[in-house]
């Protein structure tokens, strides 16, 4: 699944980023790395989110969230 589908109050684990190179590096510098946990605090529209990542809140647009592959935190089968 992609982060754009994330639901408020749920936590997700980052799998892969499919974004332009520089943006990917910037997100990684903020801690959006493989295996990082992301909590969804708010969402609107098709997937504009407020997330909590490594203790800080970020607003992410749909063009970013639709390109971040995640899995539900605690789901070990995937």
């Amino acid at each position: 699944m992609f982060l754009k589908d994330g639901q408020i109050g749920r936590a997700y684990v980052v799998e892969v980023l499919h974004l332009p190179f520089e943006l990917e590096r910037r997100l990684e510098a903020l801690g959006m790395t493989h295996g990082a946990t992301v909590s969804v605090l708010n969402r609107k529209g098709k997937g504009i989110l407020i997330i909590k990542l490594r203790g800080s809140r970020f607003a992410l647009g749909y063009n970013i969230t639709r390109n971040i592959e995640v899995k539900e935190a605690g789901d070990e089968r995937e």
């Binding site: 974004l19 520089e22 943006l23 590096r25 910037r26 997100l27 990684e28 510098a29 903020l30 801690g31 790395t33 493989h34 295996g35 990082a36 605090l41 708010n42 609107k44 529209g45 504009i48 407020i50 990542l53 490594r54 203790g55 800080s56 809140r57 970020f58 607003a59 992410l60 647009g61 749909y62 063009n63 970013i64």
Partner: protein, 682 residues
């Protein structure tokens, strides 16, 4: 370091309090706000302490030392330049996990680093605890708790920095990780951050190649890491021929491993991590709500303008009395000195009538900036990017682009400069084009005067409508550009949302005082000169000095331009002159009108009555006043804004295009409103 001179570079994540710390040391009044991207270029100051002359450099906030954004490039170039003796890494202690990523990168530079843990007051308030014994052991650098806002720990930090000049090796590092650690430090234990064996082996192979090819370098480990990351600058300038070792970019691996280590550090040093700031959670439920987000934003703006009008006008009464007193005193004094009509007209009608009228609006301007300062320092500004993302993305812009637009309600000049925080160059140009449509404080003087003169009880609604029209025009223009733009760019909103906090009295007072000073400076310089010029143009004609303005050079210019302004309901030579003069600064429209109609203290009730009577006598009614306000809202902002657009775009052509474009939009919109409106109102 030269003699007893040292340079300290303040670097940290956006919004970590670097500038507050810098201001606390230097007594400077640099702008601070609770949203990321306020500092966009490095700023310097100097102090004397501990027997040294210390240069302090405040660098733009950055999350990393790569060179992907303008702030990163500025910070990195300075840190690597060799001009800095000690790096003061300012970290937000209440958000340590994110802050330490930059710290680890700084450690690898091999320069003296002191970690300033800022916002310790917030950490304590929340009930979190930091192990300040273990943290320096794990990082190998001094860690000093400070609170820039409360001015605590400042001397200790400076003392540590002075003592660490020349300390290029880490302090004592104690690796005592659990067996589960991914960083066992079985080799290279002298470094705080050690990578996996695979990466360390590569570093060990790259360093000898670098030493052989570039014998003059220091800190080969950092260059090796940058080569593994495929850093553009280092790969181009220091290539080595190791295709098997440098077989791909290891940047992601290096970032991941740094965050693994940060996880271990946080696990050891941060206690009661679970204690969250509930205030922010609760406030965000309303302020960023899907249903209430935009209505709340509009309501906040409405409250700001309500306060600007009501409280501002209440204080303004005192200013008006003072201007009346000065004007009366000046007229009496000049009469006693037997000054001629020309001198009396210059001082009373020109200088006091023009500049004095502008000064009476100071309370309104003060309240507006006070409200904007509270908004910026509270942490709400960044939320606006999220609230507006849905609308802005349909215009091909990121929600972040709304921040400069919102700042435009205060002043267009810093708003255009704030567009630097946008990553996309095309976005920046677009924002520079539409930001001047947002109604700045200078235009407020025009709205207050004309709406109170012509709209009575509805004055506030008439003025507020200008702000809304400004937003609508900016959005409509952005949408048209987006639709016409063939190279549609994809926008990526990514902005940190700081925690809400009670605005800091010192920060707010610095912000407001700077704006008030700017306003008074402008009244004493640009507006003063423009008013004198207008007075000259209106009192001299082909026959020399004449009190009959209709025979003046100014009248000739105005009459020549009247046909251009007639279709938009402003076909009066006096108004044409005021609008041309208003290009220097928008307040000059008001001061020029005061001179043109010979009204001293135009904003007082008596002045307004006299002014309105003069305007009505030439056929200028409420609908013309609305058209004037509308045209002033949309046409060329001011000379200073144009100069800023030129500076930021680096292009005279873009500045010229912006000026012509805004003039054309102002004329077209006012034309439509006047031509349609006259069917109903005239």
């Amino acid at each position: 370091m030269k003699g007893n001179e040292i340079t300290l570079g303040f670097i940290g994540n956006p919004n970590c309090g670097k500038t507050t710390l810098f201001n606390a040391y230097t007594g400077a009044n640099l702008k601070v706000a609770n949203w990321p991207g306020v500092t966009v270029e490095k700023v310097e100051g100097a102090i004397q302490a501990h027997g040294y002359h210390i240069h302090l450099v405040d660098l733009p906030g950055t999350y990393s030392l790569t060179s992907y954004t303008m702030e990163e490039t500025v910070a990195r170039q300075f840190i690597l330049s060799g001009d800095v003796d000690v790096i003061i890494n300012v970290a937000d202690a209440s958000s340590l996990e994110r802050s330490l990523y930059l710290t680890l990168q700084l450690l690898e530079l091999g320069k003296p680093v002191v970690l300033a843990l800022n916002m310790m007051d917030i950490v304590m308030k929340r009930g979190m605890e930091l192990d300040l014994h273990r943290l320096p052991e794990m990082l190998g650098i001094p860690v000093i708790p400070v609170s820039a806002r409360q001015r605590r720990g400042l001397d200790v930090l400076l003392h540590a920095a002075v003592h660490h000049v020349g300390h290029t090796k880490p302090d004592r590092i104690v690796h005592d990780h659990k067996w589960t650690s991914k960083h066992q430090h079985d080799h290279h234990a002298e470094y705080a951050m050690v990578y996996s064996d695979a990466i360390e082996d590569k570093i060990d192979q790259i360093i000898p190649a670098l030493q052989a090819k570039y014998p003059g370098l220091t800190n080969y480990r950092w260059y090796a890491l940058k080569l593994l990351e495929r850093d553009r600058e280092i790969t181009e300038n220091y290539p080595v021929d190791l295709p098997d070792v440098l077989d791909r970019s290891y940047e992601s691996d290096i970032i991941n491993q740094k965050y693994d280590f940060i996880g271990e550090v946080i696990g050891e040093v941060l206690l009661h991590k679970e204690k969250q700031d509930m205030l922010t959670e609760r406030a965000d439920r309303v302020l960023t709500s899907n249903v209430w987000g935009i209505p709340v934003f509009l309501a906040i703006m409405a409250v700001i303008f309500f306060l600007t009008f009501t409280v501002g006008d209440w204080i303004k009464g005192g200013f008006e009395e003072a201007i009346d007193w000065i004007s009366g005193g000046a007229a009496a004094g000049l009469a006693a000195l037997h000054a001629g009509d020309m001198m009396t007209s210059l001082v009373v009608d020109g200088i006091i009538g023009g500049v004095g009228t502008i000064v009476t609006f100071l309370p309104n301007i003060l309240i507006l900036f006070l409200c904007l300062a509270l908004l910026e320092d509270s942490g709400y500004m960044a939320r606006v990017a999220y609230v507006m993302e849905g609308i802005m993305s349909r215009l091909g812009l990121s929600g972040k682009a709304f921040i400069p637009m919102l700042l435009g309600f205060g002043c267009t000049v810093p708003a255009i400069m704030a567009s630097r925080a946008l990553e996309n160059v095309r976005d920046r140009y677009k924002v520079m084009l539409v930001t001047p449509f947002m109604s700045c404080n200078a235009r407020l003087t025009i709205y207050i005067l004309f709406s109170e003169m012509f709209f009575g009880d509805e004055a506030m609604i008439a003025a507020y409508s200008m702000y809304l029209i400004g937003i609508v025009v900016a959005i409509a223009v952005s949408w048209i550009i987006h639709e016409l733009d063939r190279k549609k760019s994809v926008n990526y909103l990514m902005i940190e949302l700081p925690e809400y906090k009670l605005p800091d009295a010192r920060t707010v007072s610095i912000y407001v005082w700077e704006k008030v000073k700017d306003y008074l400076d402008k009244a004493g310089t640009t507006i003063f000169v423009a008013t004198l010029l207008i007075w000259g143009l209106l009192n001299f004609g082909s026959a020399g000095y004449s009190p009959d303005m209709s025979e003046s050079f100014g009248a000739d210019i105005g009459k020549f331009l009247t046909p251009v302004f007639a279709p938009i309901g402003l076909g009066f030579w006096q108004i044409a002159v005021a609008l041309i003069a208003g290009i220097s600064a928008k307040e000059v429209v008001v001061s020029s009108c005061a001179v043109l109609f010979g009204v001293v203290n135009a904003s007082s009730p008596e002045g307004m009555a006299a002014f309105a009577a003069s305007l009505e006598a030439i056929g200028f009614g409420p609908f013309n006043a609305f058209c004037l306000m509308l045209f002033c809202l949309l046409y060329i902002p001011c000379a200073a804004a144009l100069a800023t657009i030129r500076k930021e775009s680096g292009s005279w052509a873009w500045m010229g295009f912006t000026a012509c474009f805004q003039l054309a939009v102002a004329w077209a919109v006012t034309f439509c409103v006047y031509q349609i409106g006259r069917l109903f109102f005239l």
